[in-house]
Amino acid sequence: MNLTEYFALVLNDYTLRTITLGTAILGAVTGMLGSFAVLRKQSLLGDAISHAALPGIAIAFLITGAKDSNTLLFGALISGLLGTFWIRGIISKTHLKSDTALGLILSVFFGFGMLLLTFIQKQPNANQAGLDKYLFGQAATLVESDVWLMAVVTGLSLFVMLLFWKEFKILLFDKDYAKTLGFNTKFIDILITFFIVLAIVLGLQTVGVVLMSAMLLAPAAAARQWTNSLSMMVILAAIFGAFSGVFGTAISASQNNLSTGPVIVLVAAVFVLVSFVFSPSRGLLFRQIRVFKNRSDLELHKTLSFMYHIAETHTDISHPHEIRILNNFHGFTKGSLKKLQEKNYIQLQGSTWSLTDEGFKMATNLYNQQQKGHE
């Protein structure tokens, strides 16, 4: 099955439609909330939370024996929150730094989760299979009720986000100011964190515990490159996330034995790479172009100012000079002279050049500006 066939099928096939819709919604909500995580410098918190959710899944299964994903995700939510608050406790109450706290909780919770998973696998319980999918995600197992759950949570987080937009924004950029204005920063902080945890837990079934954090980061990091406005960034991140979800699922579904998680992550990484390189204002490509442009402008100005110093000694500024006399100066080429002519700063005639009035004025100002700059 190739990709075009796949997308043709999406329109007709019930299962595929469910899966595609599910991953699109998931990508949108993680992108949206991921923007906050990235801007709050909590990028790695997502990684810790998603790993910390694993034991919750296993314990929920051990207690209820249910394979119902809602129950399992509820367990994941609880243990994710537990991990988050333990991390906060470690950072605020001891001298251990955030990276240590994150790495510790991440690996310890995950290890405990794996212990429980292997323990469950050994149980003589026919119901056990299927927990593995939470490691790397299997979008194919999404059913309509899962998608409904995602839609409800997305709607809820959208609503809360719009309701507390001002508070979120001010907390994000100036926490102390928010405090002096009388906002309950602790509450807002916990609210944002809660929704980030919720988004992560939601994605476990599709993307899996191990790679969920990338789903949170990548769309937001990509969106950040295109805009400096928070609302734009959130919208863009949601769009990038939705597209990586849809494309990733499509690619993994059209191949054999590929988990969805890794593919979605790679698609999202492509978005990031493209944004890093091609974003007009921050991208590496345009930045490099600007560097070159500045450099060549500087060369032109150097040549012009040299010409100005020669022309200055003559009463008639448009007196033609031989190009030869520029030779002891290293800043000019045929191309740069032509460029100066194009800008109408000089006139070229055979082997001679002469400054125009405009060029003279430009060079005078250039000189003055430099003088000013030195003062």
């Binding site: 109450k93 001298h95 706290a101 998973l117 050994k122 191990v210 490159q225 998680g261 890794p262």
Partner: protein, 386 residues
């Protein structure tokens, strides 16, 4: 205990020590998450290396995979340098991508590679004793024992040789650079050792649980001591303790050894986190409570000093005026009495000469805000020690 069981515990203990050494430095240098990144991103290196060598324990594979680990660090640092995203985002972007590539490579070549995802995450410690090395026809022990033994030997040698440099560059980068120890060489040296250890331990405990063995013992030890040598020793012994107890726990539960070792590490950390003498959570909370009382006492004394009139110094009025609850007011009053700061005569509180002197000093401290003075005050008055 059979010889296989003994060998498993030996391997696990060696892995724990080998991880604890670089782990301690990573924790101290605030680079703990780098170990997480490395442990994920060596996966494509291992898979590609496996295609080439067809042997999980080949030294070439270990070098190749360790190189991937170092490349990760370089990649993260170069993304940071562009300034497009923050440091933590750079880490969070790089390793999932590399890990994904590794997972996809395994999935696509499932028939050729005798690696499966479970082994990647958990390792195969239980099977380690079955893959043995035979030299001149004599069985000299399990392969992974030799691998991790060599790595441990290398790590300890490097540690002993460069202990001074490592210590200096960890705690004072500027000084170490000005003394001529290149921080870059030490940084990448440490990263290389961390990568090699991760790869070597990968076989035994899997990609993600290496992180636990690196960070958890070091974090626990850091709560107990501030001496680098002691910290190294404590974290190594915590690692070994968790390895051995974890093995028997897994044996009893019949579940993953690596998972159980990590769980033990978690429990160890929890115990230290709660009960560590001066940095544990209980000690910290107790200290915070004491400090709160101390500040209350100070407020109380200042209030007394500021008010000469009797109505302001009535016991009842005080609890209303400073807005304390009964218990709190009682504690503060008792404490002040015990320290001879105040005298109570027919429900009117007044400062004793000692209390007066103390308060004057306290005001001085508050005005000048120099830490040195409050230390003297503590010595003078034995607020809580007396």
């Amino acid at each position: 205990m059979s010889s296989a069981q003994f060998e498993i515990q030996l391997i696990a203990s060696l892995v724990a020590i080998a991880c604890a050494i670089p782990g301690t430095f990573l924790v101290l240098r605030k680079m703990a998450m780098i170990s997480d990144a490395i442990s994920h991103s060596i996966l494509p290196g291992i898979v590609v290396g496996f295609f080439i060598t067809q042997d999980l324990n080949s030294p070439w594979l270990i070098l190749l995979a360790a190189l991937t680990g170092v490349i990760t660090v370089v990649l993260v640092e170069s993304i940071q340098k562009t300034g497009l995203v923050k440091e933590d985002t750079a880490i969070g972007l790089v390793f999932p991508v590399l890990f994904s590539i590794g997972v996809i490579l395994i999935a696509k070549n499932a028939n050729d590679v005798h690696l499966d995802i479970d082994a990647v995450l958990l390792g195969e410690l239980a099977f380690a004793p079955f893959d043995r090395i035979h030299m001149f026809g004599v069985d000299v022990g399990p392969k992974s024992l030799w691998v991790i033994g060599c790595i441990l030997l290398l790590t300890i040698t490097l540690l002993l040789l460069f202990f001074k440099e490592l210590k200096l560059s960890t705690f004072d980068k500027g000084l170490s650079a000005s003394l001529g120890f290149s921080p870059i060489i030490i940084h990448y040296g440490l990263m290389s050792v961390a990568s090699i250890t991760t790869v070597g331990s990968f076989d035994a405990v899997g990609a993600i649980l290496v992180v636990a063995l690196m960070i958890a013992p070091a974090a626990s030890a850091y709560l107990l001591t501030t001496d680098l040598k002691k910290m190294l020793l404590i974290s190594a012994s915590f690692g070994v303790l968790a390895a051995i107890s974890g093995y028997w726990f897994a044996h009893w539960l019949d579940a993953s050894i690596a998972g159980s070792i990590t769980t033990m590490l978690g429990i160890l950390f929890l115990i230290v986190y709660l009960f560590a003498p001066s940095k544990g959570i209980i000690a910290v909370l107790y200290r915070e409570k004491q400090q709160r009382t101390e500040v209350s006492l100070l407020t109380f004394l200042l209030h007394l000093k500021n008010h000469e009139e009797e109505s302001e110094r009535h016991v009842k009025h005080l609890s209303e005026h400073i807005n304390w609850q009964k218990v709190r007011a009682r504690t503060v009053l008792d404490l002040a009495l015990k320290n001879n700061m105040i005298a109570i005569e027919s429900k009117i509180v007044s400062l004793t000469p000692k209390g007066d002197e103390f308060t004057t000093q306290a005001i001085d401290y508050i005005i000048t805000n120099e830490d040195a003075q409050i230390e003297d005050m503590k010595e003078d008055f034995f607020l809580f020690r007396g």
